[in-house]
Symmetry: none
Subunit: 187 residues, 4 copies
Amino acid sequence: MKRREELLQRARELFSKKGFHSLTVSDITSSLGIARGTFYLYFENKENIYEEVLKEVVSEVSSRLKVLPSREPLKQLEENIKGVLNLFKEKPEIAKLIFYHPYKLNPKFDEIIEGFFKELLSLVESSLLRGMRMGIVRKCNAKIVSKAVLGAFLQLGKEVAQGNSFNPEEVAKELLNIALYGLLEEK
Amino acid sequence: MKRREELLQRARELFSKKGFHSLTVSDITSSLGIARGTFYLYFENKENIYEEVLKEVVSEVSSRLKVLPSREPLKQLEENIKGVLNLFKEKPEIAKLIFYHPYKLNPKFDEIIEGFFKELLSLVESSLLRGMRMGIVRKCNAKIVSKAVLGAFLQLGKEVAQGNSFNPEEVAKELLNIALYGLLEEK
Amino acid sequence: MKRREELLQRARELFSKKGFHSLTVSDITSSLGIARGTFYLYFENKENIYEEVLKEVVSEVSSRLKVLPSREPLKQLEENIKGVLNLFKEKPEIAKLIFYHPYKLNPKFDEIIEGFFKELLSLVESSLLRGMRMGIVRKCNAKIVSKAVLGAFLQLGKEVAQGNSFNPEEVAKELLNIALYGLLEEK
Amino acid sequence: MKRREELLQRARELFSKKGFHSLTVSDITSSLGIARGTFYLYFENKENIYEEVLKEVVSEVSSRLKVLPSREPLKQLEENIKGVLNLFKEKPEIAKLIFYHPYKLNPKFDEIIEGFFKELLSLVESSLLRGMRMGIVRKCNAKIVSKAVLGAFLQLGKEVAQGNSFNPEEVAKELLNIALYGLLEEK
DNA sequence: GATGAATGAGACTTCATTCAT
DNA sequence: AATGAATGAAGTCTCATTCAT
């Protein structure tokens, strides 16, 4: 099954570089020096391998997420932010696949991406709710706020993945600072 | 030039519904009950009309943005957030086109979208910098923070556009609250 | 009927410049500043006008041909050669239409051109035969020789039409010299 | 590479029969009983294969041309005339492609054909000039005369290719006779 | 007479997928 | 397992021609 791995690996690289439509099955096989037909020994079709790439990528991020003991909701948030940002920095193709996914081609694809975002969201949201219950976090509309926090995080994730000299540690620090203390000068 | 407007209008709807690739020129014309050839009287090709749709959409958002007197950087931010969120609510297809644009097809397209995001970003960033200079906003890495704020805003924009019963006024309020005061319970 | 003439005239110019296929009906009308539909008030279709152009052109050449009293077959040849070469020089588009006609599109077209060549040929042939009967011209296969003479003439016609600084008088002289005396140095 | 040869061969036949425009890619493939897509595995497009056919055809003729020792310029002329006429008789499609080529479609095509004619021309011209230097050929304007000779030859080539019961040997003989001795009865 | 928007047949081309070897 | 030639559906685009105004 080495061949299958090769294909998946190369597909991941190339899909992230060229996007789903611009990449042909030929691109993948010829870049591996194998015949086009060989591809179909390992994957049903192009959508199939793309789906698998997405699933892999998403689960690779998910597996970095930690659920810490419920005493420390903010700590958990911080850890996870740093973890994922570091992953995006190490493997920017993951971030590109997730952020530049072309919607509306196949509902399956969209579900994978959206499922992933929902996972992140519920992580944030549950942290918030726990924080509120514990009296650490002020009252707010958790649905809205969790999306805001997620959005801020994802945007910074894109930047980190683009290698724009954004340092995950600093980014995480700034992100938490706003989230916790806001932007106003203290009086 | 009525026909041209019709085509643009219909293309906007359909692109936002089906995405660039799944939509064919035939889809557009048959949905208007006209011949395929007619399309080519008004647009060079499918990419051409898509580009025009993107430009329209982006400039429609831009024209909602206000630049207020520099005394009130935060007021300006709030106004703009509300304005754009309301636009996304009224015309969700605008948001969909911007947020679900398929990258890597044609650099021109990407530039339009990215140019738009840059515009938003520099608006946020300049507000922040002005706020800092005026002593209202605390010291922070404006590059990072402006992206965080933009990200939070965009994510909420997506939600509003999806009609998830998110109220632009409330969303704007919550967004500003986090941005200004953070999430911690005041001591 | 002025409009009809305009169209014919312009079509002649443009067909000779761009060829039958590369020239569109739009090219003709827009170059006259009139609407495309107007064309169809005067001509059934594109083939139709091309046919008419060809006929005009061919008859314009034919009308230059003289049939002199049968006593002077060679004189007649010379006169005709000069006449037609001069016409090609004055109106090179005539030559271009005749020489660069794209065969096999429509048998009608081909017949016009071939009919014209046949006319020229029989002129040459009859001169030859008369010359032979009169003892001026040596015995030869008139079918073959007339084609050779015609071919030589046509080739030089092309050159004259291309304006390659070929002078019709000189060309005619050389042509007759070869035809009459051949190329060998006299002994 | 058998398939490619088949396509080229069939294209040659069909182009010569129907001309460039009237022939579609479908005509070629369906006449071979293969799918249209197969064509595009071997050739970029219709222009591409036409170009290749032209090149082949032209070089097939060129390769029949001999350059004999410079002592015998007229012998060389005769040999070449016979050689090419025989080729035209054997493979009339070659002549048709060359003589009925539709100009002005694509400059590349025209260059191939014109380049070929130039080659023939310079062969004739250099023979003439050598002949003159050797005192065999009388003084004349070689530019003009070579074109006349070429024209005579090409016209006869057309006839031979049309299978009009023209015998290459006889044609060559007559052609040389006129060229050398002219048409006048010897006194 | 003139217009020009609209038509639609006809051709081209790409590429995911199949299948005999 | 692997090959790669072949397939054909799906889409793009052009332009001669029509027709209502």
